[in-house]
Amino acid sequence: MPALAFADGVADGDEALMLAYAAGDAAAFDALYARHKGGVYRYLVRHCGNAGLADELFQDVWMSVIRARATYAPTAKFTTWLYRIAHNRLIDHWRANGHVELVTAAADGDCDDNPLAAIPGSRNDEPEVRAGSREIGARLAAALAALPPAQREAFLLHQEGGLGLAEIAVLTGAGVETVKSRIRYALLKLRETLGDLQ
């Protein structure tokens, strides 16, 4: 998991891989991509609730990373730089579509009544497992969509990106305590949603 990876100190190697890729090492990019593609993708999917839009945004984010390799400077953690790119891309998308707030999965017209159907599940799951997970996922997605955008943003950055409170605070422009409160409130609401399943 990405959070585990950062916690294990492997993140220190992300900057080196990015520098290696900037120097022309394509294998370094493959390593970076394998590490962070899931978190970024889920971050985008959880925000927009649309797989197609998430793919488009995901591709844009990584293309931005590729283009910015020549000017990359390891002044911060690579994940912070990567999720900042994703965050800005989301904001650009929302601004381009006239959405000020984060778009929930329920509000997306392309989605069915069940918002979890838009979320791509694991392709290796068995049908019964997929059915159980789909139910849990649907309820979790509904609970996540019900969260305020700020709480959802802080929660996703913390949960999928593995960013700390300070990093989230810098990225979102809020205080650390504010971020902490948002994350706490988000967790409480999600626990309540998943409480009866457990």
Binding site: Y21, A26, F29, Y33, G38, D55, P120, V176, R191
Partner: protein, 423 residues
């Protein structure tokens, strides 16, 4: 499940192990494989097309492909130098070194020295009608007298022998005489060979055969005629005879090299010579002007030779005749004299200063010349006086007085007390 770093780890209330496990079980979404491949392919393309390290081997450009520009300045300098040298070579020397205040017209034609022109005019002035008559008489005598040279072949006895004889006459001891006699070195070399080697005409005379080529032998016949060397001797081994020959014709004893040098000088001066002087000049005139330049002496000699030839005039083109005579040969000596007189008159008209200098010179010469007979001189003075030529009459009178010490007794009363100013 999720382990947070201690620095920014949220509070314990942010961690719920059961929630994290449930979230992990649900959050397994991955981007499509096609999207993964597209992104990886784009990343690889950018990596290959991106900038490379400076010290990478691919960054080194082969030396053969580098622009070799170090020789460009040298090539430019060489080109400029070549163009400058070419322009200097093409430019005429007159333009290169021409003075700014040069008012004259540049010409390749040599300018006739003013001094030479004056001397030529002086020599012309010296020729009096009576002297011309003497010269004609002498020329007639020389022409009438057959060649005195025993070695002269009968065929060459006509003009060439007489001409060379007159040229080698002791009356012209000046070294310029031999310069004036032949016109070119080609004509002079046989003369030198005449004394350095047995004269060919002599052999001809011994065999009794007439000269087959009298034109070729003509220059050699002259010195041989003047020298008392027997024509029959094949080699002039006798030193006494050589000395006698040299004393008889000192002008012809110059070595071949000296003659060649003189010929060069004569040729150069001949080119610079003014229009030919009056041909009716005598050897006396040439004697009176020792400082006269070689062209003038040549002209005088040529004129004298022509006069001496009188009626039997050979082709003139080969001798030291004036260039004008060679350029337009006249049929008779009288015509030649007329032509040269006309030319000299024109030159005199063009240069009045020359006339003035000639008058002064004739006055000096009048003092030095040999006196005329008293009666003739008195008649000349009277005639000049009566013609209104008071200046000339006064000059002649002064010359008469200078020539004769007893002029008071010789002069008639009308001339004794006559003064030009009195009239």
């Amino acid at each position: 499940m999720t382990t947070r770093r201690p620095d920014d780890a949220p509070a314990d209330d942010l961690h719920d192990p059961r929630f994290d496990a449930a979230w992990s079980a649900l959050s397994r979404e991955e981007p499509p494989a096609a999207l993964d491949d597209a992104i990886r392919a784009a990343a690889h393309r950018e990596a290959r097309a991106g900038p490379r390290a400076v010290d990478s081997p691919a960054a080194h450009v082969p030396s053969a492909l580098r622009p070799q520009r170090w020789w460009w300045p040298l090539a430019a300098a060489a080109t400029i130098g070549a163009v400058a040298i070419g322009l200097l070579q093409l430019a005429t020397p007159d333009r290169v070194g021409a003075p700014t205040d040069d008012k004259g017209v540049l010409s390749d034609i040599p300018v006739v020295p003013e001094q030479a022109r004056r001397k030529a005019e002086g020599a012309r002035e010296e020729l009096r009608p009576e002297q011309n008559g003497q010269a004609q008489e002498r020329g007639a005598e020389e022409a009438a007298t057959p060649s005195a040279s025993p070695s002269a072949s009968p065929s060459s006895s006509s003009g060439a022998a007489g001409r060379t004889q007159s040229a080698a006459t002791p009356s012209a001891p000046s070294p310029r005489k031999d310069v004036a006699a032949p016109a070119t070195s080609n004509e002079r070399e046989p003369e030198a060979l005449t004394f350095a080697a047995p004269p060919p005409p002599a052999s001809n005379s011994t065999t009794g055969k007439p000269a087959s080529a009298p034109e070729k032998r003509t220059p050699q016949a002259g010195p041989a005629a003047t020298a008392p060397v027997p024509a029959a001797e094949p080699f002039p081994a006798d030193a006494a005879k050589l000395e006698a020959m040299e004393s008889a014709a000192p002008a012809t004893t110059l070595s071949k090299t000296e003659r060649a040098a003189d010929a060069g000088i004569a040729a150069g001066k001949l080119a610079e010579a003014p229009p030919p002087a009056e041909p009716a000049q005598t050897h006396e005139g040439a004697r009176d002007e020792p400082a006269a330049p070689a062209p003038r002496a040549k002209a005088l000699a040529g004129a004298a030779t022509q006069d001496s030839l009188a009626a039997s005039s050979p082709p003139v083109a080969e001798s030291g005749a004036p260039a004008a005579s060679r350029a337009a040969p006249a049929s008779s000596p009288a015509e030649r004299r007329a032509l040269t007189r006309d030319a000299s008159r024109e030159a005199q008209r063009a240069t009045p200063s020359v006339v003035q200098s000639t008058d002064a010179r004739s006055e000096v010469r009048a003092k030095q010349r040999s006196p005329l007979p008293v009666t003739d001189w008195i008649a000349l003075i009277r005639r000049l006086r009566d013609e209104g030529k008071s200046a000339d009459a006064a000059k002649e009178l002064a010359a008469f007085r200078a020539a004769y010490a007893d002029h008071e007794h010789l002069l008639p009363p009308d001339l004794r007390d006559w003064h030009p100013a009195a009239r």
